[in-house]
């Protein structure tokens, strides 16, 4: 297991390097008029010389390979350059907001998993019955309903029942109850799709596993139905479901981008949208890197988990 884990972690390094190079290539080859935008935003006429001077100051006039070396050598130190708009270091802009998004992602993953497991299992065990139909309608809805609209509906619901939690996020460690009150609605609105996808996957893999020969054998040798389902069925159905949890995590990160705007939460999703609107390429670059890295890391964890559950994976590679 340890050998497998080390190998898997080492394999992650070239992936992350490639991600970094790709992000640089995509975002730097394209000319951005951030400087002009920024100067004209402050009002008044701007001369070409002023724009050029500002560009030189921000390092945008350096040849591409110099910019590339600066960028790559900064990465191991966590130096992502400075935001072209606020002139704060990008890493600080991101770390100030990532906690909130992380909490939201964790909460909705938690919600999705604890809701999806009973739903998917019930749906599979009561296949073709009323229960199954109800659950399937709920989960098909999750794939069609836009998360930001669900968020808006939830805000409407909360408003009609009482008051919205106060604006501005309260830290989990200061006032857990208010924090929960603030986070639960956005977590539900991003988590609905997640729940649906996981529960559908679980349903179909349970059905697939239950038709296997070894389930028939287990039943034939007189095991209790509970043991057959839980020990022989669920354990095997879990593997593809865990993969889906990892893959859908990317979708969740994307969902945060939109949902944070709906709930006016100051996380990295909102920062992402702001960086595009302001044409802040450095910040955008840092954010894309952060998101891709967290996706790669999450999938590494999933892979290791997978290997721990299923010895076949460890021996195969």
């Amino acid at each position: 297991m340890l050998k497998y884990a080390i190998k898997r972690i080492l394999l992650m390094i070239p992936t992350l390097l490639a991600v970094a190079v790709l992000v640089f290539l995509v975002l730097r080859v394209v000319p951005g008029d951030i400087v002009e935008l920024k100067l004209t935003a402050e009002g008044g006429e701007v001369s070409l010389e002023q724009i050029e001077a500002e560009k030189t100051r921000l390092g945008l006039n350096d040849p591409l390979h110099i910019q590339f070396i600066k960028y790559m050598s900064g990465l191991p130190k966590g130096d992502l350059g400075i935001s072209l708009w606020t002139e704060e270091p990008v890493s600080e802009e991101i770390s100030a907001r990532i906690g909130l998004s992380f909490e939201l992602a964790l909460l909705s993953t938690f919600l999705a998993v604890i809701i999806a497991f009973p739903l998917g299992t019930l749906s599979a065990l009561f296949r073709g019955t009323f229960v199954d139909y109800i659950i399937r309608i709920i989960t098909i809805g999750g794939i069609a309903v836009p998360s930001f609209w669900l968020g808006m509906l939830l805000i409407m619901l909360v408003l009609s029942f009482g008051k919205l939690p106060p604006l501005g996020t309260v830290s989990l460690f200061v006032d857990p109850l208010t924090n929960f009150n603030q986070m639960i609605w956005p977590a539900i609105s991003v988590g609905y799709r997640y729940t649906s996808v996981v529960s559908r996957m679980l349903r179909s893999s349970i059905l697939e596993v239950l038709s296997e020969d070894y389930i028939r054998t287990a039943r034939a040798k007189g095991l209790y139905e509970k043991v057959v389902i839980v020990k022989h069925g669920m354990r095997n159905a879990l593997l593809p479901t865990i993969t889906v949890i990892g893959l859908e995590f990317a979708f969740l990160l994307g969902g945060l981008v939109v949902t944070e705007s709906v709930f006016n939460l100051n996380g990295i999703g909102k920062l992402f949208v702001d960086s595009v609107v302001r044409n802040d390429l450095n910040l955008l670059q840092g954010l894309v890197l952060t998101v891709a890295t967290s996706f790669v890391v999450i999938n590494l964890i999933i892979d290791l988990f997978y290997a721990a559950l299923d010895p076949r994976i460890r021996y195969q590679s």
Partner: protein, 296 residues
């Protein structure tokens, strides 16, 4: 001489689809209705979607759903039903074009990768893995950020490209898996032996044989594309006013209207959900019908 028993496989018709996949047929009907509404929008919509009537604005306490405005009016007093009908034009055209573009490029990459195999395949696959580590929305927004806004005959080309690009790696991966089983078949060897060029074999011999997964994915991705267009427009990064778009209708909602004008929020989101739902329903049924083992 023994007579060889002939087993003629009946060609499956649309009628079989209706009987075997009633849910998919319902999806198809809903899609046809939406397309009809979009095409004949000027005849179907009760109002011009850009007609402003401040007396019907919720800001002045008006705009409730009534016989005049069936689904109410928005902040500028524009008829919501008419805007939804015209919005279907934006949603369906962007949805269809971007899914078509993404699936076509993905299918070409996937078959090429499978056909050449070896190093080419390896490099393409690593690149696809790389692309898949960016969430769809994030990738789409990055493309929006780097492409200048281009509108040709009222269609936002940059939005279409932004939606198409994140779909390509997913399609390429599925199509490659299908194409891998085809490249080992004798008729591909025959084509190679006849001296046909690689592009001829890819386009004439392999691509037509992956049309089933292509069609299934196209249907599913039109739904996803509609969802993505709505999200981008909601964030102010997709289509812009005055183009009627379902996502854009939600983005203009002032926080006061959450309490006073719920219809402004409910109906556009419902339109997106129904459209995506219909395409998902059709896509799922097409998969069950054409290729039940396909994993997307």
């Amino acid at each position: 001489m023994n007579e060889i028993p002939l087993k003629i496989q009946k060609r499956r018709t649309i009628l079989d689809f209706i009987i075997q996949q009633p849910l998919g047929f319902i999806g198809l009907i809903m899609i046809i209705i939406m397309f009809a509404a979009a095409i004949f929008a000027p005849h179907v919509a009760p109002f011009n979607p850009e007609d402003v009537d401040f007396e019907a604005s919720p800001a002045l306490g008006g705009g409730q759903p009534s016989w005049e405005h069936l689904l109410g009016a928005d902040a500028f007093g524009r008829d919501i039903l008419s805007r939804l009908i015209y919005g279907a034009r934006t949603a369906l055209s962007i949805g269809f074009l971007s899914a078509m573009l993404g699936c076509t490029i993905g299918a070409i990459i996937g078959t090429t990768s499978a056909f050449y195999g070896g190093k080419v395949d390896l490099i393409i696959q690593r690149f696809i893995d790389l692309m898949l580590s960016f969430p769809i929305v994030v990738l789409a927004i990055v493309v929006i950020a780097i492409f200048p806004k281009t509108v040709v005959v009222g269609i936002d080309i940059n939005v279409i490209i932004a939606i198409a690009i994140p779909f390509t790696p997913k399609v390429a991966r599925v199509i490659r898996a299908q194409a891998l089983t085809i490249v080992t078949l004798p008729y591909i060897d025959a084509a190679k032996a006849s001296g046909y060029s690689a592009s001829r074999i890819i386009f004439r011999h392999i691509l037509p044989n992956v049309s089933a997964p292509f069609l299934i994915m196209l249907t599913a991705f039109i739904g996803q594309a509609i969802l993505l267009e709505a999200s981008l427009s909601y964030l102010g990064l997709g289509v812009v006013e005055p183009t009627p778009s379902w996502g854009l209708m939600l983005s203009g909602v002032n926080s006061d209207y959450y309490r006073t004008a719920a219809w402004m929020i409910i109906y556009p989101g419902l339109a997106v959900s129904i459209a995506v739902f219909s395409f998902n329903l059709l896509g799922d049924s097409l998969r069950d019908w054409l290729d039940p083992k396909l994993k997307l």
